[in-house]
Every structure is written in C-alpha cells, then in structure tokens.
C-alpha cells in the first residue's frame, strides 16, 4: 500500500520535473534570441538582447523614436524603415501604414520584435534626440490653470533645438499612476538658451501628466525629458508672419518670437491669441515688451467672452473672426498656428479663403 503510494508520488514528481525541464530548455533555446545586431543607416551598429520590441531596444541605446502611447501600437508615431530582418507587417500595424509606406518597408517599431539581425533607417534628426536629466528650478502660475516650468540641464549638458519644437516629458510613477508615461510639450524658451528649457503646461482635467506637474512637481525635483522633436519650427526667410494660438499654444510661438527678437528680425509679425476671458490671458507684458524690441510686431489678444465688457479694450469674438477682420493681404505671408484641432481647422479655413497656399501654413495641433 505504502509502496503504491510512493510510486504514484514518485512518478507524479518525475513527470512534473521532466516537463519543467522541457519548458526551461525551450525557454533557453526557442525563446532565447541571443544578442542581435542592428545596423542603423548603414553606418552605426548596435547589439541588443533579442526578443524585445525594436522601440524599446533602440531606447536602451539612447535612440529615441517619438511615441505617445508607450508601445501599445495605438498612436502610430514610432514609424521606422526596416530594410531587412523583419517579416511582413502585423495586423496591428496595417491600419497605420498606407500602400506607399508598406512598399517602403515602414514598420511600427513598437510592434517589431527583434529576432534576427536588422538593417533599419532612422531619420537623421531623430538621431540628434537625446535624453536629459534635468532639475526643476522655477515654477510660476501664468493663469489659474497654466504653469510655467523651468528645467535646468545637468552641468555640462547642452540642448540644441529649433524654435517651435517640442520635447517629451517623462512622468515617473506617482501616487495616482503606477507606470511611467510620456507627454509632449512645446519648448517656450529661446533656442539660444542651451542649458535650460521652459514649458507651459495647462492643467487638463484628470490628465495624468498635467496633474502630476500641477499638484506634485516642485522646485528641486528631477525630471527626465527627451527631445527635441517636431517639424513645426521657425522658417528662416523674410516673409510676413501670421501667428495664431490659444491656451498653452502660446509656448512654441513664444519661443519663435524670442528667436526673432534675438536675431534682430525685421519681419512683419502679427500674433493673434485667442482666450475666453481676461483671466485666460497671460504673458501680456512680455508680449508688449516684444512689440517694442521687434521692428514690426503686434500682439492681438482676442477674448471670446470678456467678463468685464466695458473695461476690455481689445478685440472681442472668436480668434478666427478677429483674424478675418485684421488680415488683408497674405501675398507674402506665412502662418504659424498652435492650438486645438478645432481652432487649427477653422484658422486654416480662414487663411485659405484669404488666398494663402496651404504649404505656407505651419501648425502644431494639440497632441
């Protein structure tokens, strides 16, 4: 009786042991892709541990592809050209790739698992993207819901960017979020300042990052950012400029204006800023100061619902309506827009009606 029991127990243990060994063996062979080489742009070569997504593997080597969703395959931003070593695009990628991109072997790097040696192409400007460990040295309230945050780079570090570009801000896990998240914010300071960046962050109701910045972040805290990104930036030419922004869309325009002031630009600039009420306006004094520094600059704030009707001397109405009234000739002008998608669509429509070709309208939509 005891023997039968012991045999049963022994066999059971043996079976479980053998199966465990089989799984371990498979884990070490089948699921182990070993070190894999990735050749970037035919010149740089990195070696990564296989089996992980390309996006994460590149990040380990300080190559940052833009990604808003953090590798969930839902933002379609982390596109990269994979010349060799990856199979066909997955079903999860197809919605993001048009026929031309499929032909060009464009893939979403968060969906490509590194299994075989890869040859990839990364746009040159993305190779300039770096990660910076910074410290908060200033925080001030611009309005009741917009904060200006100044980040100081570590000593000896230097950031080069073009006026209008943005960075990604890493929110560490905190009381209300258990995973790190990344959010993009335009830089509002001048590109001539290489040792610090300023951001203007408006509190988004229930926003993970903005709640962190407004309620938890304080002077002295460390913040990790990476960048710069974005093709919305100042074009170096002599055209007249029409700038239109709302809310925290102020940030990239402010950087562009700072750059123009520093280079002593003689361009004719009109800046329309849309806000609801007086308390949504900010940096008015700075803008008035720029009107004196720059040769031909006017700041035109427009309130859609001024609270104190009599006291408000400026323009009233939607910013698009004010723009329509003010702009007469767009012949030698280009436009810079930053704000909500709704505002941008409406503004583009106005400018097109005025005869501005779309390729001279540059915009940075929230998001």
């Amino acid at each position: 009786m005891i023997t039968a029991f012991l045999i049963g127990l022994g066999v059971m243990c043996a079976v479980v042991l053998i199966l465990t060994l089989v799984i371990l063996a498979c884990d070490a062979t089948i699921a182990n892709y070993g070190p894999v080489r990735i050749v970037i742009n035919g010149e740089r070569e990195i070696t990564v541990q296989g089996g992980r997504p390309l996006l994460a593997s590149l990040k380990d080597h300080e190559i940052f592809l833009p990604s808003a969703c953090g590798g969930r395959g839902s933002c379609g931003m982390c596109k990269v050209r994979v010349l060799e070593g990856a199979g066909d695009p997955l079903a999860t990628e197809l919605p993001w790739l048009n026929a031309q991109e499929r032909k060009d072997k464009i893939r979403l790097s968060c969906q490509v698992k590194v299994k075989r040696p890869l040859r990839i192409e990364v746009p040159r400007e993305l190779l300039q993207v770096r990660q910076y460990r910074t410290q908060v040295i200033g925080m001030r309230d611009l309005t009741y819901d917009i904060k200006e945050v100044t980040l100081q780079l570590a000593p000896g570090e230097r950031i080069d960017f073009q006026a209008g570009q943005f960075i990604q801000f890493e929110v560490p896990p905190y009381a209300l979020a258990d995973e790190p998240v990344y959010r993009a914010y335009s830089i509002s300071s001048s590109p001539a300042q290489h040792d610090r960046v300023e951001l203007e962050i408006r509190l988004v109701p229930n926003g993970i990052c903005t709640t962190y910045v407004h309620r938890y972040l304080k002077v002295g805290d460390g913040v990790t950012v990476n960048g710069p990104y974005g093709d919305f930036h100042l074009q170096e030419n002599d055209r007249e400029m029409i700038c239109v922004a709302g809310g925290s869309g102020m940030a990239p325009i402010k950087s562009i204006l700072a750059r123009l002031a520093e280079t002593g630009s003689k361009r004719r600039i009109r800046y329309f800023f849309g806000a609801r009420t007086e308390r949504d306006l900010f940096l008015v004094d700075e803008m008035r100061a720029l009107e004196r520094t720059l040769t031909d600059f006017r700041f035109i704030p427009a309130l859609s619902a001024p609270q104190d009707g009599a006291a408000w001397q400026g323009e009233t109405g939607l910013v698009t309506a004010v723009l329509e009234r003010h702009v007469t000739s767009v012949e030698n002008a280009e436009a810079y827009l930053c704000g909500s998608p709704g505002m941008i669509n409406a503004t583009v429509a106005v400018l097109k009606k005025k005869g501005m070709p779309v390729e001279r309208i540059y915009f940075d939509s929230f998001g």
Partner: protein
C-alpha cells in the same frame, strides 16, 4: 483501404455524432464567453483544433508507456492536465519564434486553452474508448474540429441573429445562448442516425 475508411469514421463521429461540445457539453465557459464574434471564435477554434490534435497522442503516449505499465491509471487526470499546460507553454514559444502573424492571431488564445475542459475531456475519452495512437490523433483532430464547428455556428447565430432581435430581459446574454446551444445539440443528434444505417 478499410483502415482509411475507419479513420474517416472516427474523425466524422468526433466532429458530428459525438461532438464534444454539443453531446458532452464540455468547454462551455469559453464557448459562451468567446462566441460573440465570428472572427474571435475562428481564432479560438483553430487554437483548440491544434492543441487537441497534439495533446491527444501526447497524452496517449504518457498513459500507455508510463502510467499503465506502473498501474497508475488513477493519476491520469492530474498528469494529463500538467502535460497539456506544459505543451501549451512550449507551443506558445514555438509559435512566437516561427511566425509573428500566427502568434498575433493564435497566440493570444493559447493561455485560455490550458484550462479548457474539452481538451482534457478529449484525452480522457480517447482512453475510455481504447483508441490506438494513430486513432487518438484522428480523434483529437476531429474533436477539435467539432468544437470549432460548434463555436462558429454559435458565433454566427449570435452575431447575425441574436444581436438584432428583441428578447425578454431575463433571457438576454448567456441565457439565450444556452437555449440556442440546446437546440443546436438537438440538431446534432440527427447526425447519429447517419452512422447507424449500415
């Protein structure tokens, strides 16, 4: 030739006359939970076919070559479950290595299958029915196909008909699904007459 016909008979009876889902009511939970759309049902169904086709002969070998010689038949239940779980683990790794596309379509269902009682049921029936190794493979494949057929039919009915129909409140969701499954089972009973004719 007659051998081939015999295998065909085993296969067809596993698919139709003794459909593991509709005559034995095994694998009900995933059958009810994942039968809302044809597309996902197809993925789960394919995974079940594949796993059953392999685990049946695998368990046959364990049973005939290890358990029976040692008179440990009473350990079948637990050993079969462990074998199935381990096989699914290994299979998941293989699928991931071999094909990203297959992994994306099938891989997500594999962990769900480990605990599907139809898989264990098929392995146990094959012992009761005293199949040979080759027959157990055919039986496993047939049972899987039968299960897939049933869940596809159910998904079709739910997607095309039940979603559009007005139902009394108490009958909505799993209730009507069970009623439909019952009627489907009655319909499948009709198949048993086909084998009895000869």
């Amino acid at each position: 030739m007659s051998e081939l016909l015999y295998f065909l008979a085993v296969l067809l009876s596993a698919v139709f006359t003794s459909n593991i889902l509709l005559t034995n009511y095994l694998g009900m939970c995933s059958f009810l939970a994942v039968s809302k759309e044809i597309k996902t049902s197809l993925g789960l169904g394919a995974a079940v076919v594949f796993v059953m086709a392999i685990t049946c002969p695998l368990n046959w070998m364990v049973s005939a070559w290890v358990l029976e010689p040692l008179h440990l038949e009473y350990l079948r239940f637990i050993v079969f479950i462990v074998v199935i779980a381990a096989f699914v683990q290994v299979l998941e790794m293989i699928v991931e290595r071999v094909s990203e596309t297959l992994y994306a379509n099938l891989g997500i269902f594999l962990p769900l299958i480990t605990v599907n009682c139809a898989i264990l049921g098929a392995s146990l029936f094959m012992i009761i029915r005293k199949y040979t190794l080759a027959e157990s493979f055919v039986y496993g494949t047939g049972s899987g196909l039968g299960w897939m057929l049933a869940i596809l039919a159910m998904a079709g009915i739910r997607q095309e008909k039940l979603n559009q129909s007005k139902l009394p409140r108490g009958l909505e969701g799993p209730a009507i699904a069970l009623v439909v499954a019952g009627i489907m089972a009655l319909a499948f009973m009709g198949f048993s007459g086909m084998g009895g004719g000869n």
